[in-house]
């Protein structure tokens, strides 16, 4: 078996110092195998966003080690980190974070541009990713011409276009209505079924119900680690055949 996609070992994160120090994470250990679909749940302030930022190589842990695809992230230079973020991680944010005044296609092409993929191949891959999220007819629209759900689907396409080892989603449905939520979750289910590793941060049980594994964080510690479906198999919603 290959190295796990995620290897988090005794990670802590402390903001500030001395008496005012805040322990956002106090010793989190977590291993995620390839193909897993993990929902990280917790109340606000439980440290789930901090964990997400560390997993996404946007922030560094105070202590502890973090291995992504077997690489110790703490040993990497800024330049190597940017390559890591580009190739290995796909981000989906709660507030979409598309770049304004750029078309959906240009937004999806952006990670490929930074990754050095040339014109024609880039366009082909970006169009394929947009097709995957069902937005093939919206490629020339700018973010402000798209609905929230469509914007989030563009963001998912952007996250997937580099074929990353890990898809990280931070409250992907937090700003969406229930219909768009269903759309996005269905896409995540399909991606998971295709074998992609997904970590989604949420506080909604409805979202967590789609994951193969649910990890619950309280005060910077893992208090529950529940498996809902096998790593190798399809996600629970597709297993029962229902789409609710």
């Amino acid at each position: 078996m290959s190295a796990p996609v995620l290897g988090v070992h005794g990670v802590t994160k402390v903001y500030g110092q001395g008496e005012t120090a805040v322990h956002a994470l106090s010793g989190v250990t977590l291993t995620v195998e390839r193909g897993d679909y993990v929902a990280i749940m917790g109340q606000s302030g439980s440290g789930k966003s901090t964990l997400m930022n560390i997993l996404g190589c946007l922030d560094v842990p105070s202590t502890g080690r973090y291995l992504l695809d077997g690489t110790d992230v703490g040993l990497l230079e800024e330049h190597q980190l940017s390559i890591l973020r580009n190739r290995r991680i796909g981000f989906v944010f709660q507030s979409f974070n598309l770049i304004p005044r750029m078309t959906a296609l240009a937004n999806v092409e952006l990670p490929l541009a930074y990754g050095g993929v040339k014109g024609a191949a880039r366009r082909r891959r970006a169009l394929a990713a947009l097709d995957l999220v069902g937005l093939a007819d919206r490629v020339d629209h700018e973010p402000n011409e798209l609905s929230g759900g469509q914007q989030q689907r563009v963001a998912v396409a952007r996250a997937l276009v580099t074929a990353p080892a890990l898809l990280l989603a931070d409250e992907p449905t937090g700003n969406l209505d229930s219909r768009s939520t269903q759309d996005v979750l269905a896409i995540l289910d399909r991606i998971s079924h295709a074998g992609r590793t997904i970590a989604v941060i949420t506080h909604e049980d409805e979202v967590a119900a789609h994951a193969k594994r649910v990890v619950r964080l309280v005060d910077g510690r893992i208090v529950e680690d529940r498996r809902q479906a096998a790593v190798a198999g399809p996600p629970p919603n597709l297993l029962t055949g229902g789409t609710r």
Binding site: D59, S82, R85, N86, N97, Y114
Partner: protein, 420 residues
């Protein structure tokens, strides 16, 4: 990440805020345009002065009587500056005479001298013609050789001749102002004017000179007559006011000055440093004017350079605002894997494009503006000023853009993403 890619991102970034980009470009445009235009104006006026030096009595010397005892050595130029020196008046001071003037035309001792014209100035000469009267400010008695060093050109009629001088005929060549005042639309040639009780026939009218060597008086308010006709009627016999010397070429004017000084020193028996005459070289005054005009050009250029600098600070300002405003966008770009160099490149490229576009438009407007005459000066573009201004504007873009770009590139993605 190719250069072209970075440039495309930069153009897209600039296009996102067209008004702001336009105004920033305008700052550089004005700076570059001002540098080119003002340097061209300064250069144009400097060239104009240089041209008028060669036109206005190039190679002419004026010898005049000195009461201050200043030496008339080579380079002795501006007569007025010596007047404050307190020198005891010399009893032996000799006036300039006709004989002095003749002695200066000497192919052996003064090979550089082409001609030497004696000059007497008539005091208060009022001319009348058919009831119209005009006070001529400068009534000169001389010989025909005077016209060339004095830069007088006969426009209509003829000059008087050497024969007129020998025979003392009462003929006169008048300046444009005199012709207009006395005759109006009539052709003055052949008519007679009454000057101080003597009748003079007008034989020629001088071309308008447009500019005057002395600067203060109207160079066209002049009448020139044979010295023999003026002496005894309008001026006293005897001493001369001046001797005007023409050197063979403008280049040998310094040699001519030395020769004239040597001959007159000998004739007047002068051995020491004090002298009873002075030799005034018009070109030296003009070159002083030319120097000050070059200083003027430098000053204009400096003012324009400051406006270019202000434009550059404008770029920094705008780029800082842009970076702050787009912090979140920078965070997103970093989160999806933009390397630091790509962010740095994008913002430097934005600043450079702003300054380069501004610079090119500035060059165009500067060149176009130079086609017009500005405050009486025809601007002459200095090619190096174009390259300098354009180069400086690009350097400004790189230099002033690199600080905001560095700030953008250094942002930590997590902080940039949190920025609202």
């Amino acid at each position: 990440m190719s250069l072209w890619e970075i440039l495309r991102f930069a153009l897209r970034g600039l296009g996102a805020n067209k008004l702001r980009s336009g105004l920033t470009t305008l700052g550089i445009l004005i700076g570059v345009g001002a540098v080119i235009l003002l340097v061209a104006v300064g250069n144009g006026s400097s060239l104009k002065i240089k041209e008028s030096i060669t036109r206005l009595g190039a190679g002419s010397l004026t010898v005049s009587t000195s009461t201050t005892g200043r030496s008339g050595g080579p380079g002795g130029g501006f007569g007025g500056s010596g007047q404050a020196e307190s020198t005891a008046p010399r009893t032996q001071a000799r006036k300039l005479t006709l004989a002095d003037a003749r002695a200066l035309v000497d192919p052996v001792n003064a090979p550089s001298v082409e001609s030497a014209s004696p000059v007497v100035n008539a005091a208060a000469a009022t001319a009348t013609y058919a009831g119209t009267s005009h006070a001529i400010s400068q009534f000169v008695g001389t010989d025909p050789g005077y016209l060339k060093p004095a830069n007088k050109v006969v426009a209509s009629g003829t000059s008087f001749t050497a024969a007129d001088v020998t025979e003392g005929r009462k003929v006169v060549v008048i300046g444009k102002t005199v012709a207009d005042e006395l005759f109006g639309v009539l052709d003055p040639v052949g008519r007679q004017v009454n000057v101080g009780g003597s009748l003079f026939s007008v034989v020629g009218v001088l071309a308008a000179s447009g500019s005057s060597s002395s600067g203060f008086q109207d160079a066209d308010d002049v009448a020139i007559a044979p010295i023999t006709a003026v002496q005894g009627t309008l001026a006293a016999y005897g001493s001369l006011s001046q001797i005007v010397v023409q050197s063979r070429t403008p280049e040998v004017v310094d040699a001519a000055q030395a020769e004239v000084t040597a001959i007159l020193n000998q004739r007047h028996g002068i051995t020491g440093t004090t002298s009873d005459f002075q030799v005034f070289n018009q070109a030296s005054l003009q070159s002083a004017v030319a120097d000050s005009s070059e200083t003027f050009t430098v000053l204009l250029g400096a003012v324009a350079a400051i406006s270019l600098l202000v434009g550059g600070i404008g770029i920094t300002n705008i780029m800082l605002v842009t970076v702050t405003e787009r912090t979140r966008e920078i965070g997103i770009r970093k989160a999806i894997g933009a390397p630091r160099n790509a962010i740095l490149g994008q913002f430097i490229a934005e600043a450079t494009v702003l300054s380069l576009v501004g610079g090119i438009l500035g060059v165009l407007s500067g060149v176009m503006g130079s086609q017009f005459t500005i405050v009486g000066v025809k601007p002459v573009i200095v090619p190096s000023s174009i390259f300098l201004a354009l180069g400086v504007s690009v350097v400004i873009g790189l230099f002033f853009g690199s600080y905001p770009a560095n700030r953008a590139a250094r942002l930590r993605p997590i902080e940039a993403l949190r920025h609202e």
